[in-house]
């Protein structure tokens, strides 16, 4: 109140002087209040996105331009990434950037306007997914030839589901259909389609999937251009046939799908074989198998009949008798002629070899043959010598081997033992002889020394009290002495001592 009063009072008295900040603040206040949420349409230019990830650009038309900024948070919520030249519709609020005295729009959402921009988003995604390999032919799965159950991801109220069902029933009433009903356009439809594809993949028995919808505007078909759908199709283990709109409509789904059908009806036709064709083919194959097998059997039969018809089978004994006789005859001749036959055969063989050599156009061969002829006796001779040598060596080896045999060794030890024994005996014998002679000598010597021997020669021994009396002084007259003679003894008494 005070302020406005001051304001009017100041206006009344003299012109109000603002500071730059004051004016800017005032202008901002007015602008931010008036344009706190605006929709603006225009063309993007001077787009730059620095490291902060905020996007700065100018939105312009033929006559004017406005600065715009889109902060990182808002940008991250967007699928579409604007580029210079894009025609867009944006929603945001107006503000003034005090430091520069510039006004700008802080963009909250931004979407491409018109076909061109949608086309742009389409191209962007297509390029991205192509780079990732989602469209590679190598990744495409073949469709089953005979699907028993076809999964259909589409709206349950649309024309597409009716078309698909009609065509499948008409072509092949043995094929089951499982519909996973989804919303195919509008908010959340892309996510619903992607989820439905994944759900089908959790089932065991779905052989092939048809994903699509009937014709519509490019906006109507847009769900099939969304990345989530493309990824779900790519990840599907079940082969996917895309069937979106009319023949002229191409969607991202078409590029990722294992097969693109121009329409839902066409998808049904491409997926399901006609039962009658199948039956016909089966019948034809079976017939062909029968015919192909019958022919050789018929041939075989004819052949067999022909064989049976021959006399051999009708009268085998009669047929064999002459053969048996002939065998006997030949046998006899063979035994007889064997000697002569062998000589003849040999001669023929030699002739044949010679002919062969002569007939040979190659002189080299002839020369070789001659050389061979010369070599042959040498070879034989050499061989014979070799054989003799080898024989000798062998005999030597055998002998050594025989000697080495344990029996031989035992024999040899035994022989040695015997010979040693003999030598021992011999030694003992000769040693014993020697001892005998020596003994004789000793005995003789002993004899020579024996007093008895001296006695033989007429000496006698006089003993007194058992000891020999060698001097007369050892005895006294009257002593009893014994005199030993060569034969017998004398007891004597000493009569007189003489010197």
């Amino acid at each position: 109140m005070n302020d406005s009063f001051d304001f009017s009072e100041a206006e009344d008295s003299e012109p109000r002087v603002y500071t730059v900040s004051e004016l800017t603040r005032s202008v901002r206040g007015v602008l931010e209040t008036e344009f706190d949420s605006v929709w603006v349409e225009g063309e993007i230019s001077n787009l730059r996105i620095p490291a902060s990830k905020h996007a700065y650009f100018v939105l312009k038309d033929e006559k004017a331009q406005i600065r715009c900024v889109m902060f990182r948070g808002a940008r991250s919520r967007m699928k579409y990434q604007p580029e210079d030249g894009d025609h867009v519709l944006l929603f945001g609020r107006f503000t003034v950037y005090d430091a520069r005295g510039e006004y700008q729009v802080i963009v909250e959402t931004l979407e491409p306007v018109g076909l061109g921009a949608l086309q742009k988003a389409f191209e962007q995604l297509k390029e991205k997914l192509a780079k990732e390999g989602l469209f590679d032919d190598a990744r495409k799965k073949p469709l089953p030839e005979f699907p028993w159950k076809v999964g259909v991801v589409t709206s349950e109220t649309g024309a597409a589901v009716r078309d698909i069902l009609n065509i499948i029933r008409r072509r092949n009433p043995k094929v089951s259909v499982l519909i996973n009903p989804v919303k195919v356009q509008g908010e959340g439809s892309a996510e619903a389609i992607a989820t439905a594809i994944r759900e089908m993949n959790h089932l065991e028995d779905v052989d092939v999937l048809i994903v699509g919808r009937g014709g519509g505007s490019i906006e109507d078909l847009w769900a099939f251009n969304e990345e989530v759908v493309a990824r779900a199709i790519f990840e599907s283990k079940i082969p996917v046939v895309s069937a979106v709109g009319h023949e002229i409509d191409f969607t991202i789904a078409d590029f990722v799908a294992d097969l693109r059908a121009p329409t839902p009806s066409a998808a049904a036709e491409l997926t399901v074989p006609v039962l009658k064709d199948l039956m016909d083919r089966l019948a034809l194959l079976t017939r062909q198998a029968v015919v192909a097998t019958k022919r050789p059997i018929a041939d075989f039969k004819t052949h067999l009949q022909r064989l049976i018809d021959r006399r051999f089978f009708r009268d085998p004994v009669g047929l064999l008798a002459p053969v048996a006789q002939r065998v006997d005859d030949l046998n006899l001749r063979l035994v007889r002629g064997l000697g002569l036959g062998v000589v003849l055969q040999k001669q023929r063989l030699v002739n044949r070899v010679r002919q062969l050599f002569q007939a040979s156009p190659e002189r080299a061969i002839r020369l070789q043959a001659e050389r061979l002829g010369n070599l042959h006796p040498r070879l034989v001779r050499g061989l014979a010598q070799r054989i003799v040598l080898e024989n000798q060596r062998l005999r030597g080896l055998i002998e050594r081997l025989m000697q080495a045999s344990p029996k031989k060794i035992i024999q040899r030890v035994e022989d040695k033992r015997i010979s040693l024994h003999h030598r021992l005996i011999e030694k003992i014998r000769s040693l014993t002889g020697l001892e005998k002679n020596r003994f004789k000598g000793v005995v003789n010597n002993l004899n020579a020394l024996s007093p008895l021997t001296i006695l033989d020669r007429g000496y006698s021994i006089c003993t007194l009290a058992g000891s020999a009396v060698k001097s007369s002084k050892e005895a006294k007259p009257g002593d009893s002495v014994q005199v030993r003679l060569s034969k017998g003894r004398l007891d004597c008494v000493v009569d007189k001592i003489l010197d």
Binding site: P144, E145, F146, P147, W148, K149, E156, R162, L165, N166, R169, R170, N172, P173, K174, V175, S176, V177, L178, I179, N180, P181, A196, E199, M200, H202, L203, E204, D205, V206, D207, L275, L278, M279, R281, L282, L285, T286, Q288, A289, V290, A292, T293, R295, P296, I297, F300
Partner: protein, 82 residues
Amino acid sequence: MAEMKLEKVMRRLEDIVLELEKGELDIDKSLEIFEEGIKMSRLCSKKLNEAEAKIEKLTKNEKGELITEMFPVDKEDDHGQE
């Protein structure tokens, strides 16, 4: 889906016919594979004759589990073409 793939059986039958038509097999082998071929043929037609087609739709029960229920098909469409 059948426990045995129809295309596999059909392909085997085709191979057998080709082999038989070449006529290089001895009679025993011919009869052997012929027998196999007839077996394949019977299997196929049995499969095709016995198959019961169902038209169903996937839906969720109160617990949020996926269940199938019959999908209404126009009777006219169903009969008209066969």
